[in-house]
Amino acid sequence: MSLSVPSFVTREQYDRTLDVPISLPQTLLDPGLSIVVNAFDIPDGATMQIRWLCLHFVRASTTSIPTKINNGRQGVSAGLYGDSGLYTNELPGSAMAGVSTDFPNTAVAMPVSFPFAAKSPGTYALVVQNNFSCRVEVVVTASLRITLAT
């Protein structure tokens, strides 16, 4: 939410505001696998805000309690990573922001409870990862807002 005093939206403000949808329909992730759902550049002077990030852990390939590859992490997570070196096919480092879950359900981050904005120019990536030793099926639904410089 904006902390400034509400005012009318001008055409110029509206034109500078880009809402970028991110959608990963139900996808099977192998054990330990991370995939880049989306990657994007933030140009100089622009800001980027995660407006919505919803991770739906639909089901796992095992009916027993799955074991984790790295016990220090949640089982399934989706997060935003900066700098292109941080995302690979292996488990990446800590996310700048994200959501995670150990059980089949839905984890969500939204503007009211979870404001996150990036102002530094560079490349960012939204990555979903499976830290379980079994295969999982996940859905990621997100929306980013990029506000271009005047």
Partner: protein
């Protein structure tokens, strides 16, 4: 009544995609295209959804692995009539479910809104499309809403794509 939008209005609206790139969906299977979870007093406005069947591939008998191709008239005739898993519900549908249960078939669960469905036919023109029109509905009950795509045929893999959008008002 018309009025001007404020910065708070703009900040409180989040447009979320309900989108599926071209995907081969096997017979009698489903997949979750998108999931949105809302809490009180948030609302979810569902306006746009389009479902396209871009191709079909037989999965049994003489049609095993064979694509259904347009004939000289541009019509795609299924060599064998598509079997319906659930009669009268079309070839393929997109439904929105609150609290979707992956252990239960979609047809056994309660829809939050009528499906977007490609009607049953043995002869179709590709792409065969269906859309829900532009009249929005507003879902306000807190919960998790999933948009689920289902191939209602018993003997064809359907090559499908979905384009849609929902708007969350985060109040």
């Amino acid at each position: 009544m018309s009025s001007y939008a404020t910065t708070d209005d703009l900040d409180s609206r989040v447009d979320v995609a309900v989108a599926l790139p071209i995907t081969d969906l096997p017979a009698d299977t489903w997949l979750v295209v998108s999931t949105v979870k809302i809490d009180t007093p948030q609302t979810l406005t569902y306006r746009l959804a389009q479902l396209h069947i871009l191709g079909a591939i037989g999965v049994s008998g003489a049609q095993l692995g064979q694509a259904v191709l347009p004939n000289a008239d541009g019509l795609c005739v299924f060599p064998t009539a598509p079997g319906e898993v659930n009669g009268g519900l079309g070839l393929c549908w997109l439904g929105v479910y609150q609290g979707f249960d992956p252990t239960s078939p979609p047809v056994a669960q309660t829809l939050s809104e009528p499906t977007v469905s490609v009607p049953y036919a043995q002869t179709i023109v590709l792409p065969a499309s269906a859309d829900r029109g532009v009249v929005p509905i507003v879902l306000s009950a807190p919960g998790t809403y999933s948009f689920v795509l289902y191939n209602n045929t018993t003997n064809y893999t359907l090559r499908v794509a979905v384009a849609g959008q929902v708007r969350v008002n985060v109040a």
